[in-house]
Structure formats: C-alpha cells, structure tokens
Symmetry: C3
Subunit: 414 residues, 3 copies
C-alpha cells in the first residue's frame, strides 16, 4: 500500500484555479494589494432563486503580444455578458445581450497591458495605443486633450507639464478587486475594483469602481466613488468614455437626448451642426466631430440619453443624476470599419478640452481633504421597436417641450 | 489500496514543459493572442531524413534584471544555432555556426523586456537601452533618427511628434509565434511570428516575420510580410539592422559589395570616405561613420554583399531582391570592445535619416489599404578561404565591371 | 498496488518555495541573469551561535495594482527587520527595531514595479510616482533635479537631453541577488544585489549594493561598489536618499551634525535658515526646505550625523567616510501626514541640483575605465536617552569646537 504525498510547490494565490458555487452574501477577493492576493483562473456559478437565472463569473489571464499578463473578468448575468479589465483601470471591454453588443471594433486588437503604454508618446496621444474598450474612464487628475498646463512642482514653484490625452486612470491596474453578491433580494451582483491615482507631490485620489447587475436583467449599472485621500484640496476630472459601434451604430443611427444647449467642439464640428444627432455610414477620411451638450434633467434631477440604430429596434440608454456629471460629450467618429467606426457618448464633470481650458470655464471641480463624490450611470439594452419607442418617449418627457439652444460657434478656448 | 488523484492546479499553457519529437508537416503554436496561448518551457527534437541532421527547437523564459519574463527560442539546425526573441519583435539575438558568430558584444548585457524601455528617453534614444541583437528590425511607422516630424492627429490637424530612434517594432512582443516544419523536402524549419504595430488614429501594420533554415545547412533566410490592415494609405519604413562584431569584424575586415553609388551620411563620414570598405581595430573615442549605398543587382534583380575578416577565411553574405530593399546602410562603429565594436549592414526601404528627410528624398513608401509587401534576405556563413573567395567572385559578377560613383558630399538634409 | 508518478511540470526555479536552515558560509542566489534564476517564495532560518539570535530571511513576490510581480526580501536579524526591494534597484523599504521604524508614510502606498513608472512624466518628475522607500539610491548617470543637460549623442555630436528627477537606478531591477552568511565570526549576513545602468552610447555602470547586519545587533551597514565597465571615462552621481518619518520625525525632532558649512538650496530655504536643525509638526502647505551641508570628519575621516525625536529617546545615526560621500543634503518636507511628513538625510557625491549645476561646481566625479569606487554607511537605531546622548556626544567630538559657517545666500546656479 502506497501513499502519494503531493507537494504543491506552488504559490497558492497566483495559480490556483477554483470553481465554486455562489450564494447570496458572498464576497470573493480576486486581487488585493492589502492581502497580497492575485487569484488566477477562477470560476463561480450561481442560480438566482427569484428569476431562475443561471449566472457566472470567471477570471482569466490573457497571453501573447502586448496583452501578456492582463487580467479579465467575464460576468454572465444570465442575460448580459460583461467583460471587465482590472489591469486597465477596471475598464469594461464589452457588454453583450442577445444580438446586441455594446463596444466597438478598434484597430487596437489586443487588451494592452499598461506597461506597454507610454502616455507621452506621439505628442501625448500614447493612450490611443490601448484604446478599444466599450467604456473607459478618463481622469483623474486630468481627463481631456493633451497640451501644456500648470501645476505646482516639488519645490513649490509653478511649473508646466504636458498633460496626456484622457489622463492616467485607464492605464492603472486595480489594487483591490472583489465580487459581491448582495445578501438581500434582488441579489445584485457587483464587480468592484479600487484604482489609485496617487503620487508624491501630486494627487492622492482613489476611485472605487463598481459595475453591477441583477441576475436575469438586461440593465446594469456603473457606480463609482472618488475620494481625495490627501490633506489638501485637489482638482479632478472624470469622463465616462462609453463607445459604440455596430450593430447599434450604423448609417441612420441616432442620438436621442434632452438637449438644453449644444456647442460644437471646434470649427470643424460646427460645419456639420445640423446633422449632429444622425450618424453616417463608415466614411473614409472622416474627421471626428465633437459636440458639447448641456442636457436637461427631469424633476428628480436625472437625465437619460439613447443611441438607437437606423430602424429603431436596437438601442442603448444611459441615465444618470445630472448633478454628478453635468456635461455630455458626443464624439462622432464614423471612420471606416477597419480604422474605427465608433461614437462616444461621454458624461463627465467637464468636456474633453485641455484642463487649462476647462479650468477657465469653471469645469474643473475640486475635492477637499477627505471628500468623496459619487457617479452612477444606469445602462439598459433595448431590443425591439416597442422598447426603443418607450425609451424615446421617456427622453421626450425629460425635454418636456423645453427649447434647445444650438450654438453655431465653438467655445473660445484661449 | 489507494488512488492518488493528481490535481494539476496549473494554468496549462503557461507553465507546461513538454518535450517531443518533430515530424515533417508539424505546426506548433508557442504564443497566440487569438487562442490565448503562451507555452512555457518546451523542447522539440527532430532528425532530418535527407541529411541525417539532428535539429532541435527549445523555448525558454529569461529571469532576472530587465530580462525577467522575456521569451527566447533557441533553434539548432544541426549546423547553426539561431536565437530568436519573440518578446522583442522577433529580433534575432545571434546565430552561431562552428567558430563563427553573427552578433556582437553590446554593452547592453541583458535581453531587455520592452516594458523597461522608454523610447522617448535621452532625446528619443531610449531604443539604445535594449540594443544588442544581431538583427533587429527598425520600423514600421518610422525607422530612422529621432527628431520632429509631422503627422495627422486625432482632430484631423497637422501636428508634430518627436520620432524616436529606429521606431517601435523592435520593442513590440510578438502576438503569434509558431514553428512550422515543411511537409515537403527539404523540410525547411520556420520560426514565424506576427508583430503588430497598431493604434487608433495611427498605423494598422502587421508584420509576419520568419526565420528559417534547412536542417544541416549553414544558410538561413529571413522572410517577412508587411500588411496594411487599415482602410487608408499608410507610410512605412523598414530597415534590417544586422550587426556584426568579432570574429568576422576585426582590424582589416572588409565589406565587399556591388556599389553603384555611395554617399557619406554626414560630414564626419565624408572625411573617411576612401576607407569606407575597410575596418579598423577597436578604437577609443571612435565616432560612428555611416555610408549610404545604392547597390547594383544581377539580371534577376538580386544583390549580394559580404563582410569578411582580415585573412579572408570567415565571412557572412547577405543576398536579397534589390527591389524589395533598394538601400543599404553601412554603419561603422569600431569603438572599443567594451563600448561596442560593431558594424551594421542594413538593407532597407530607405536610409536612417529622420523620416522627414527620407520623405523629401522619396524614400518613404506607402501601402494602400490591404496591401502587402515582402522582404526576404538570405544569409550564409562562409568558412575557409575557398568559400570566401567564391563569395567575393559572385559579388564581382554582380558589379560586372560597372563603375562605382563615390559622392564626396553628404545629402542635403534640410 | 499503484505507483503515483508525480510529474512536476514546473519551471523549477521560478515557483519553488523552499524552507531551510542556514549555516555560516552559506551563499544563496535568489536572482541571477547569469544563471537564469528567479527564486520564488523562499525562507531561511538560522541561529547565531555567539549571540543566540534567531534570524531569518524570506523572499516573496507582491501582487495587485502596480506592485504585481515586485520581489521583496524580508531580513529579520533577531533585532532588526530590514525589507529590501530587488525589483526597485535594491532600495530598502523600511527598517524596524522594537518600536522604532526607519521609513515614512508616503502617499504612494504600493511598492511600484518600474514598468509602471515613466520617469519623464510630469516634466521629469515621474520618479515621484514610486517614491516611498526609507532609502533609495539616486543616480547613477545623474542624481539630481530634472532639467536640460548636455551629452554626446550617437553621431558624436553635443546634444541636449532632459534629465529626470534622481536618475534611473532606483527603478532598475537587480540582475543578481544573493544572500551571504560570513563564514567567520561575527557571521555577518549580507543581502547583495547588482544593479546595472548600462546602455549603448551611454553609461556602463554596475553597482553592487549590499545591506548587512550581525545577528542580534541594532546596527546595520550599506556598502556599495560602483564600477565603470566602459572603456571611456564616465561621469557619475550617487545620493543616498534616506527618508525618515515618525516616530523619530516629529515636532521638535532635531538633526545633529558636525557642520563645517551650510548653504540654503534656494531662496525659500534661506528664509528658514536659523531653524534648519529643528523640525516642525506636520504642516499643511509646507514647501520643502533643503540645505546643503559640508560636514566635518574625525581624524580617521569619518563623519556621523543623527536625527532624534523631540524628547531625545529615539534616534538614528548615519556614519560614513567623508571622502566617499563629501556632501550631505538635508531635505525637510514636514507636510501633513497624508501628503508626506518626511525628512531626507542624503549623503552624496554631490547635491541634488541638476547635473549641469553640479558639474559647474566640480561635484560630478568620474570613473576611468574599469575604475571602482566604494560607498559605505553605517546605521544605528538608538533607543533611550542614554544612547541618544552618547550619540550626540560622539558628533560633538567630531565637531571638536570647530566653527560652523552658515551661508545666507544659496549657490548661484546659472
């Protein structure tokens, strides 16, 4: 009779693959700087008692090229598949429900590890080497276009620095990642991650991100909390850069929004002002058109926008408290399929001008020491013309007949 | 009676070490973004039926310092040892046959992971922190000297960017890596890798690289295919930066080439014009001398060059279709042994001036949407004076008595 | 009857966790580029025969956020806990003995992997995104403030480059790491690591770092050797940036040093000249005050400085041969607790001005080809007022009544 002694010479946390069943009240830590954890391959399955929806969460690591070592979380709610990228600031790569995909086909084909991104390259456009997510947050110290801005340096002097496109947060790996299943019905499942933008003589900002859904639903929610952990007042910027390609984006697709005021981002966008709400087919040589939108809110302070396809039977809605994210940027980039056919609908604390412009216009908020601000956006995928018409009606109700002011000239930026 | 159940809690692809025998027709994928594969330690052995040559391919991962995590492929053809670095753009670290080594002793001692390279450092010379390969490709969006050039930015405006020395491709990890053994005789063995230089609002270039040899031979071939996967026309540059140190490079070593025209790269090189073909001993304080060569081709359009040692019994030849790579750069850098005693023989689609200069002279080719171009260079290691003399004779046959035009002045660059 | 054959399909070096007992004369390699080694989790325990001190060394790897993959060595001497970070240039994260900690609470909370650091960001202040160590070396090609300096580029021309704050060496992973237990009494235990700052057309500097202690002691030593492996003369700079927060730093804490001359770093520091030796409580909006100190040495050429707390019962002393590190920088940064309450006491081969200023003042030494220089600093943690008074007395003995020259004006820098 023999005994096989199995010496597991393995750093337990890093490589273990576990498969388990999930129960309400579950909390699973996948990554933790605090406890020195990085779970490797991992799968969890559950069945929601109320809806009967079978859901699952799987964690995996990507290999090859510039995506070597990137962590991915695939969350299947029973109706939605949500793919989150902890290594890239908790960005959401895509969301799928039935035949509808939220996301786009970027010419960037890999989910690029931040260690391969140099934000300063190409005159501050290095961010574009990793840009392919459905939803990537821009921020936190700055969120807009590259260019020179001022800051206080290590000897207390005013100095200038070159800001880089859309800031750092999309290329910072999450420090803490956890899955929570609400103990109470409707047993919402939450993928949470903390992304720190901290430095000495700089911001001490921590962003707890969360994406969550109730099993069996085609709605989901992003709910973030940003905290200034420094002892001094701190400027910040955040833009939720949500990007859509086919099947919702197509020739004749439309943005429906309760618009109070709309201002073209630049002279180029001003030329196509009248067509701002409608999208073209993929167009060689198309140059991005950007519109700055001040939306209306309903009586509870919420606004809702919708992007729907040409025939109006596929749509996505985004809904949020306007006070949290008062500004909406519409980024039209209907380039060819291979070059990037996409539109961004981007609620933010400002528009994506360089921070020095945003500051001038009073759109760079501050957090006092210890202060937090929350940002929540609800998303729904609408399928069929009845649902889409209902969505449009609810947006019309927010507009409530109030007038829309379309400005012909862009903001003066300097 | 007991049963030992062995739970292998290991991410299979990443860590498995397999050893196997190879057969004609074999295809083995070592890295794949598409299939999320990264093979760890791996060895394969074969015996070529025709030549009886015992060959092998081993994959390993490097540890320590800046080379932590770098993948290496060691290919022993029976006669040649070829070391390929997938993590560094499929560069070839060295080739050895008997006592002859193709490669050089760079002061950079590690095979540096791209995540430790900042191409923009030192005024755009960061590439030099990883430079130690026998053959590194320069390119693909730009391949030459650092400095300002124009490009079209994300808002469609002409903007300027600082190009960095020799471009990005040498510091991009391969996305797909595979080994192929030809099914048909002579059962050529091919190490293939795809390196993507892709970004949003930038190039969508994919380079399939290949280095191959027939078992038992001292000849080998690099054969690449570059494709523009964007929908717009795309400029590109590629230079095959092949670098030689001892034993071929030594005092009295010579470049033999069928030269139609030779132009010194700058005023400094112009001073030593007469000695361009001959090499000095390691020389403290030596400043690089660079010559731009327009070679002759034979009737089939091929050119051949040779570098041989002083006594003419050790040599390497490089042979390629001139139309593919019309320009040859000779980089003489006979610094001291510790500082880098080396010469580069560099066939390219242009010379290594900054792209704005190359464009001015019509040496920046373009690929239309979907278009591909191929580049193939055959290398042979020659041992013994008979072989070397034969090599020289074949180059003389290409020259065929045609005159050589030696220009005394460098190109006007600005 | 069955036999369980255990195939260990594991790359032995990388993941093995070993636990063992250490004996005098032991040498253990933890990381080696030369032998392609990276030991994973590893623990070693020993008992010192003379003192009976039970000591241990453990190696681990950090996970999560920006610290994924960072190697750490925890060395417990029986009295001291010393934490070394091979991945960050052999920096020392902290040292603890009883209730006294050498180190500080930086707003940077993770031990950041160099692949997440872009030294050029923020106008050359990217180094600050990883700065949280007790002791980080600044250097080796440059060690001071960012700004433009000249260098010789790849074509032999004078070119200018933007130096980055405190240089590269703190963000270069060690190439060789080893533990040595002296065979001879007192069986000093040494953690040694080699950090290479090498590039083509640039420095070929190798720094062998060592931190060591005798089991059971509260003293320890840093002893480094820097060698120029190039064939040409090479400038270098090194500053030992040792940083202290609570409990030694507090309101009323004092620097005790044998000062020959003291010069304020800039006009701002000049304003608080009289209080240079005394520290404030954490102060919102405090702007760093820096003083350049030329210390006195004793007859053997050694100098000693001390930082003690307000009541004078907790202190650290630093003692070194003045010829090795002739200049001492005192960096006062008594910002708030969350923003970084810290003072740096920084022996160096110069002051932290930009290298072009240091060169002007003759404070940029050179190494000839093959030449080495050594740097050794002894540290002691003093506990109780008797020990602290003894320390102060030994410093007074070095001063030996010699006068202190306090300059009112900073150096002229340009």
């Amino acid at each position: 009779m023999k005994r096989a002694t199995l010496l597991l010479l393995i750093s337990g946390m890093f490589l273990a693959t576990t498969t388990g069943l999930a129960a309400p009240g579950m909390k699973k830590v996948l990554t933790s700087v605090k406890d020195n954890i990085r779970v490797g391959e991992w799968t969890h399955r559950g069945t929601d008692k109320a809806t009967g929806a079978a859901w699952s969460i799987a964690k995996k690591t990507l290999h090859g090229g510039k995506q070597e070592g990137v962590d991915l979380i695939e969350f299947f709610t029973g109706k939605l598949k949500i793919v989150v990228v902890p290594t890239r600031g908790m960005s959401v790569f895509e969301v799928q429900a039935g035949g509808i995909r939220l996301g786009w086909n970027s010419p960037v084909k890999e989910i690029v590890h931040p260690s391969h991104i140099n934000l300063q390259s190409r005159g501050g456009l290095g961010w574009l080497e990793g840009f392919n997510e459905w939803m990537v947050r821009c921020g936190l110290e700055s969120a807009g276009h590259p260019g020179t801005d001022e800051f206080i340096n290590n000897v207390g002097d005013e100095a200038s620095m070159e800001l880089t496109l859309h800031g750092k947060v999309g290329n910072i790996p999450a420090s803490e990642v956890e899955i929570i299943v609400d103990e109470k019905p409707p047993h919402r499942i939450r993928i949470r991650g903390r992304v720190d933008e901290r430095m000495f003589y700089g911001p001490k900002l921590e962003l707890w991100t969360e994406i969550s859904a109730v099993p069996g639903s085609t709605e989901f929610r992003i709910e973030d909390q940003l905290t200034n952990h420094g002892d001094a007042e701190q400027e910040f910027q955040i833009i939720y850069h949500a990007n859509y390609g086919p099947p919702i984006l197509e020739k004749g697709a439309k943005l429906v929004a309760p618009v109070k005021q709309l201002v073209p981002f630049n002279e180029h966008a001003a030329k196509s002002l009248k067509q701002y709400a409608t999208y073209q087919a993929p167009t060689p040589g198309y140059v991005e058109q950007v519109y700055c939108i001040f939306p209306y809110a309903d009586k509870k302070g919420r606004t809702t926008i919708m992007l729907h396809n040409a025939t109006g039977d596929k749509a996505v809605t985004m809904s949020w408290p306007l006070k949290q994210l008062p500004f909406l940027t519409q980024w039209k980039n209907t380039l060819t399929t291979k070059d990037g056919y996409v539109t961004g609908l981007e609620p933010g604390t400002g528009f994506p001008y360089n921070r020095r412009v945003e500051r001038k216009y009073g759109r760079v908020p501050k957090l006092t020491a210890g202060q937090s601000r929350s940002f929540a956006i609800d998303f729904a995928i609408l399928s069929g013309s009845t649902e889409v018409q209902k969505g449009a009606a609810s947006i019309a109700a927010i507009q409530a007949g109030r007038k829309t002011d379309i400005q012909k000239k862009p903001f003066q930026t300097d």
